[in-house]
Amino acid sequence: MLLAYASILIFLIIATLFAGGTLLAAFLVRPRVKDTLKRTAYECGMEAVGLTTVQTNIRFYTYALLFVIFDVEALYLFPWAVVVRSMGAVALVEMAIFLGVLTAGLAYAWKMGALQWE
């Protein structure tokens, strides 16, 4: 089993070498022509107005929070799903309670308008 993870480490090194190698090779062969206009941000040909650190919709943050809650739940679901067949009805009821609590949370978020894009 440890050998499998060692091979993943080797694969990580090779993938990193690939990504770095292609970027480095492209860096060595590509042309460089200095031009100040090329270095402006592309906004459909217009001059960029204002800073790029603009205010963005708070909804993105809400979705990220909801995601964290449910992704942790998914992490608990995986080991449960592996053993549920051998555990029988008890495991099913326990997970139903756990999922029920979280689904109630989703229903609450829904009702309070957290899922509403304005």
Partner: protein, 432 residues
Amino acid sequence: MEETIQPKFSEPVFNRSHGRLLMPENRYWPTRMWKNPWSLPTYRRGAAVLAGLLSGAAGAAWLLGEIGPRVAPLYSMAEQYALSYGIPLFLVQTAWTVIKAAVLLAVPLVNALFAVWWERKISAHMQSRMGPMYVGRWHGALQTIADGIKLFLKEDLVPESADKIVHLLAPVAVIIPAILVFAPIPFGRELVYADLDIGTVYVFAVGGVSVMGIIMAGWASGNKFSLLGGLRSAAQLVSYELPRTFSVIPVIMLAGTLNLSAIAGLQAGYWGGVLPRWFIFYPVVGQVAFVVFLIASVAETNRIPFDIPEAESELVAGFNTEYSGMKFALFFLSEFAYVLLSCLLMAAFFFGGGEPPLPFLGFLPSWAWFLGKTLVLMFCFLWFRWTFPRFRVDRLMDFNWKFLLPVSLLNIAAAGVLIWFLDCWAAGLLGG
């Protein structure tokens, strides 16, 4: 005698009954040619070429046989050879792993070369165009390689307002997970790079890291389009990650393992000698899980109809607006790597991996079946692009949180009931 100039091309004629301009040869549209395309010689020739290609590929696969058992003796031979020269064993194993890793690295690269060409051909033919036809003689087969060389030689433009280091690191942070996810995929029997016991969790966990790269790209570009695209992308990717993960839970409940090759192997055999024991054929649960996984996978790969992050009519190109040359190529490569990964996962989870659909088709090796199923699913991905219009961003989120997520949660409950039912049935049969 006066020379008459013949027109080179025939002029279109207005067909009054159909209200459109038609060429003289099609004037009586719909003609026999349109009603029965098989009367066209080009149609018959194309079908013959396609049939020849498919049967040739099947014959080659049959001759090659299973790859896994053929490679194992090679390794033991190399090991004995090395040991006779006094080379330590761990060096041989490391060298062998490096060779395997290099072969696995070729999978996403070759896939991108092929899939980009295939997508362009499919999109062209769906719009009655030809698509790339010149590079590589045969139907523009080398077009992607030419495009790759073009991207490789292009100047790298970084805007003044960009965060240079993060801008450089973003494509690297996207491509490394996109390559790493292929490690535990079983491409056939005994044909897996790292046979992880937690393969399913590994794939979802490593695949999720790419979101970081996309946020980095959006934030570091110093461009409002990029920032909006990156944020939308992050919101979409993390949202659709949930139903995608939950839709796999029923499969794991039925299989009782997280090992991908074990999940694929468990689907061997047939009900009544005809219907394969694939997880998609488990009543209701299998089909719902597959459809949810398919929709969420299309969303995860940022493809139409879920291409909000790079909606070109709204956001120029989204998070990769300010990327050019090789950095852009890496983003492109990772997108197609994730398309391939989704298709491989669907084939392994729901379509029995390398198991043939009918018992008598077992003469083809498992990797050929796995590849065939993957390509069929990939065709669906490319097909969707030319079939569905794009979602609006709020509808996209609503669809995920108010429909897909509850459905996938309900599906887990349904899978619990199904397992209880199956076990009772099995116990009843055992008890007599």
